[in-house]
């Protein structure tokens, strides 16, 4: 019987297989950041161990760092200590680090792909759940905890139990104005936050093939939000075109050998998935969340649901709690929800295409009174590219704040946070209670909806701007 893409990548990385044990898998690329690594480096030191493959390891600073005044020392002493600890650890153990101020600094999941280090058929891990982003290249990529970070540093391997496979086939064509973010939010609302539990997911079908590399990263990024271990997309010409000129892409004859290998990774026609989900792209519309997990979403044209609309008692209780936290009344049209803050950025939607999309919508408009709009490039390279295209000028002219690169308001670990009770439309990936700051309220949206919302002052789409 044939094998799926995920199974082929898995099989190529088996270092050791034994009865009644998980496989020992080789890791091609280990990405490191300041938050989940200090205790791992300490563990190495305590045991007198070294890093097995510094040449397969890359570190950057993203979670803690400010996006303003980046030439100044980090004001929060605890954050500063954590960042300085990463710098010391990288120097001591010989790890390449792109620190704040470096041209290749940025969110770890934006930096890996843009350097060309994320390649098809590789295994990629990082102490961060959004490592699933790299699956867009046909890599088997997943987040790990700090104990596993230490394990990979010491051994360049991980023990992993074999996973089940799932196909998410997205048929048809996305309507104009509907993005990859809408697609994945609609998918999560359909399957639930636990729908992917225990599966490696392969996204396929006409609508997936039609996505750009960056849009594919948006989809794979959110795999963890419905519980999947990893999400991948078979590499094709879109992938190769994106990679070809990247600094770490194979060169010359190596490139040809690599591409030949990558083409053979596609799922065999007679391969079987353990589960299949089908989605019709042509039926999708702009999608936004109303609750406190990414599965609590509806089309922008819909209203806040009533808890008793949920048959499952757990879902009903979760909806009641979410509505209380979000201070929303059932029946309120989503478009009537006013926000205080709009955040464009994160490893989900902080790449150049996302910024181009948002800039094109906001161009010629102005951010509504009393709305704070933060535009945060995912990396310094994205920022420089955007500035070369004049996007920063567009954002600033519209009244938005143009920031330095980092995780920023996605997760409340740096100065960019919501105040208690503040409400945001955010292109990030999690609307959990307190995610963007204690007491903050998050609506997950696409860059299109974010830009339109900033102008309107309430949730809306670019189409609403035309009518306004």
């Amino acid at each position: 019987m044939g094998r799926t893409l995920a199974e082929k990548v898995w099989d190529e990385h088996i270092v050791r297989r034994a009865d009644a044990e998980p496989d020992l898998l080789y890791i091609d690329l280990h990405l490191v950041h300041e938050v989940t690594s200090p205790q791992a480096f300490d563990g190495l030191r305590l045991a007198g161990r070294t890093i097995r493959r510094p040449d397969l390891t890359l570190a950057t600073e993203d979670h803690n760092i400010p996006t303003l005044n980046i030439d100044q020392p980090i004001a929060d002493p605890v954050s500063r200590t954590q960042v300085e600890t990463l710098r010391r650890n990288c120097a001591e153990f010989g790890v390449r680090l792109h620190p704040l101020g470096d041209a290749d600094q940025g969110i770890v999941h934006v930096v890996g792909p843009q350097l060309g280090l994320t390649q098809p058929g590789t295994t990629v891990v990082c102490g961060d759940s959004h490592t699933s982003t790299h699956g867009a290249f046909g890599a088997l990529a997943f987040g790990i905890g700090t104990s596993e970070v230490e394990h990979v540093l010491a051994t360049q391997t991980l023990t992993q139990s074999r996973l089940r496979t799932m196909a998410v086939t997205v048929q048809g064509t996305l309507p104009a104005g509907v993005s990859a973010k809408d697609m994945v939010l609609a998918l999560i609302a359909q399957v639930g936050t636990g729908g992917g539990q225990g599966y490696v997911v392969e996204y396929r079908g006409k609508a997936i093939r039609a996505l750009s590399m960056e849009a594919r990263m948006t989809v794979c990024n959110m795999s963890i939000e419905w519980g999947a271990k990893a999400g991948l997309i078979a590499p094709d010409e879109v992938t190769f075109d994106y990679l070809r000129r990247r600094p770490h892409a194979p060169q010359g004859a190596d490139w040809d050998a690599a591409v030949a290998h990558w083409r053979a990774l596609a799922t065999d026609d007679d391969a079987q998935y353990d589960r299949e989900v089908v989605l019709d792209a042509s039926a999708l519309a702009p999608f936004v969340t109303w609750g406190t997990n990414p599965g609590q979403g509806v089309p922008l044209s819909a209203s806040v649901p009533a808890p008793d609309a949920f048959d499952d008692l757990d879902d009903r209780a979760a909806a009641e709690r979410a509505l209380e936290y979000m201070a929303l009344v059932p029946g309120t049209p989503m478009r009537a929800i006013e926000v205080d803050t709009v955040f464009v950025g994160s490893c989900t939607n902080g790449r150049i295409e996302d910024l181009r999309t948002a800039a094109a919508i906001i161009d010629g408009h102005h951010v509504a009174d009393a709305i704070r709009m933060l535009v945060v490039p995912g990396s310094v390279r994205v920022r420089l590219q955007a500035e070369a295209e004049g996007l920063d000028v567009v954002f600033k002219a519209a009244g938005a704040e143009w920031r330095g690169a980092g995780c920023s308001m996605c997760l409340g670990m740096n100065p960019d946070t919501l105040a208690p009770g503040e409400r945001a439309a955010s292109t990030s990936n999690r609307n959990f209670e307190g995610r963007q700051g204690k007491g903050g309220r998050t609506h997950l949206v696409s860059p299109q909806v974010a830009a339109a919302t900033a102008v309107l002052g309430h949730l809306g789409s670019p189409a609403d701007l035309v009518e306004a």
Binding site: A20, R49, H151, H248
Partner: protein
């Protein structure tokens, strides 16, 4: 890592599903570089509520947390496991765990016991009536036992064989893997030369080959 065999203690009913790791420990507590001392961050946003279950006097000293489904979803932060352990929990029961949380728990020595939803509900009811009821989690036998007579609850729980073995033996994962170092070296010898390397660093776009 300490061995885990059988645990008998009191338990806290956490009647919530989808408790993500941002709720278990908010990100503000992740800035520390230490491996211990995260107990103050555990459920920090909810601890301000005097009615929150952990704030009840009868919750003091509990070593088992009985949670709803999809416990530990979201972020990969192992700090969630450490915070539970630092607070005094040695086992968490839930019908389903977030993948990375479950894996982190096994590595750090916290038992994540996948427990039937009906058993979780029965334990919640029992603990509401008898907050000091002793609950026994036996990893060797994979069983949960609580209550007495008409209230007695006894059922099995799920945990993968490998994690169970490692917890029972209290093994250091890295040492186990390094005992297979010759397999790693042999694998590395066969890796294609075009696989990416981070060193030496290449940061500028390369000149196209003619």
């Amino acid at each position: 890592m300490d061995r885990f065999t059988t645990l008998t203690g009191t338990a806290v009913p956490l009647r919530r599903s989808n408790v993500d790791t941002d709720q278990i420990i908010p990100s503000a507590y992740l800035k520390r570089v230490s491996r211990t001392g995260f107990e103050d961050g555990l459920f920090a946003a909810w601890r301000g509520d005097p009615h929150f279950v952990l704030n009840r006097p009868e919750s003091a000293g509990a070593s088992i947390l009985v949670a709803g489904s999809d416990f530990g979803t979201g972020s990969s932060r192992e700090h969630a496991v450490w915070a539970l352990q630092d607070y005094g929990f040695k086992a968490v029961l839930s019908p389903r765990f977030g993948d990375i949380f479950g894996s982190n728990a096994g590595k750090a020595g916290l038992l994540a016991a996948q427990t039937d939803a009906k058993v979780v509900a029965a334990l919640w009811d029992l603990l509401d009536r008898q907050p000091h009821a002793a609950v026994t989690v036996d990893l060797q036998a994979r069983t949960i036992v609580a209550g007495a007579d008409g209230d007695r609850i006894e059922d099995s729980f799920d945990i993968d064989d490998y994690t169970r073995w490692r917890l029972l033996e209290g093994l250091d994962d890295v040492a186990v893997t390094l005992s297979h170092e010759q397999d790693i070296t042999a694998y590395e010898a066969g890796r294609p030369s075009w696989k990416p390397r981070t060193l030496p660093a290449r940061v500028e776009a390369p000149v196209e080959a003619q």
